[in-house]
Amino acid sequence: MTDQTDDKELLFLFKEEATKESAFTRIIKKYQEKLYWHIRRLVINHEDANDVLQNMFIKVWKGLDNFREDSQLYTWLYRIATNESLTFLQQQKKRRSVSLSDDESFLSNKLVADKDFDSNKLEWKLQLAIQKLPERQRTVFNLRYFSEMPYEEMSRVLETSEGSLKASYHHAVKKIEDYIINR
C-alpha cells in the first residue's frame, strides 16, 4: 500500500525535526516499489538492486533538505535512481575488468544467472533483447514500456528532449523485434 499523501506535505514534515524520520519513512514507502523495479530492470540482480536502492535513499536523506521544490519529488527520485544504477553498473564492470567486447554479454549473463530464467519463454527473450541495447536506449525502453512514464516526465528525469526520447524508444523497439524474430 502506497502513501497517497501529497509530496509537498511530506517534504514539509521532513523539514521538521520531530517528524523528519516518519516523513522520510513515508516517502520510502510511497516510492520504494516503483524505484526498486526501475533499478532492478537496469541492474538485473536483486542484491544489486537492493544495494543501489538503499544507497540511493541515503543520498536522498542527505540531499532532501536542499531539494528545490520547483521540480517534482517523483522526478528527482527517478533521476537519482537512474544515475545510481548506471554508476553502479559502470563500477561493477570496472571491478570485474569487463572488456568492451564483453560489455554486451555482461548484463545477459546476469540475466541468465537468475533462478527463474527460462529462455523458452517470450518474456525472458524480451529481457535478453533489452540487455543487448545500448545503455541509453535500454533506460528509455524500460521507463516507457514497463514504468509507462510519459515522455514529458521522462524528459525531466533524463534531462533530454521528448523528441530524442521518442527516437530512442523507436530504435529500441525495432532492435528488440529483430532480436526476438531472428532468434
Binding site: 526498486y36 537468475d114 518474456e123 523497439v173
Partner: protein
Amino acid sequence: MQKSPSIYNELKELNSPLADIPATNVFTVPEGYFDVLSLDIMQAINEYRIEELNIPALERNVPEGYFDTLADEVLRKIRRSDTAPAMEEEDGFLASVRKINVFTVPENYFEGLATGIVAQVSPKQPARVIAMTNRFSIFKYAVAAGITGIIGLSLFTQFDKKTAAELVAQVTLIPANQDQSELIKNAGEIIRNDSFDKTLEALGDEEIVGYLKNNGEDINAAMVASVTDEKTLPNEDAYFTDEKTLDNFLNEQHIVQISNN
C-alpha cells in the same frame, strides 16, 4: 500485465509485435521484501547519522569547561616561558638536574679547529712552479712567431721593390756577383713553372742557416716558424701544466738548438 492504452497504441503505430506481448515482470523479490524495506533503509540512515555524529565526538570527550579556560591556560604558559624555561616549570625531575656538560674536548681544540679544517680541504699537492728558464722558452717561442711574421711581411713588401731575379737570388743564396742575365733567366724559369715553393724545399738546412746568419736573423725562431703549422701547436694551458711542453714539442719537430754564433 496489461499495457496501458497509450503504450499499446504507440507500439501499434510502430507496427511492432511487442504490442501483443504482455509486459510481464519476470523478476521476483524475496517474500515480504517491501514490507521491511523502509525499516532497513531507515536503519542504514541511522547508522550513517551515528557515523556523522561521531565526527565531533572529540568535542564531547574533553573535560567539562575545557574550552572556557583554554585561552587563559595558553596565556599563562606563554607568560611562564618568558620568565623561566618551560621545562623546569613543567617537569620537576628535569628541573632538579643541573645542566652540566659531562663531555670535554682537548685543550685549545676550538682555537685550532678552523685552521685544521682549512688545511684538510686545501689541495695536498703543492702548486706547480714553472721555472723562469722554461717561461723564457715560451717567450722565445712567442717572439719567434713575431719575428717570423716580420720576415714574411718584409719579404712581401720587398717583392714589389726587388725584381724577381734579385729575390730568388737572395733566397737561393746565389752570389751577388753572379751573372745577372743568368739570374734573370733562372728566375723567369721559376716564375713560369710556379716552382717557387719547390725550389725553397730543395734548399738544404745549411744553406738556409747560412742565409739567416748572414742576415742576422734568429735561427731558432725561423726554424720553428718554418716547420710548424699553427694547428699543431700545443694548447696554451699545456705550457702551465707541464713545464716540458715546449721542449717536447720542439723535439717532435726535430728542431735542435742552433747557435747564431
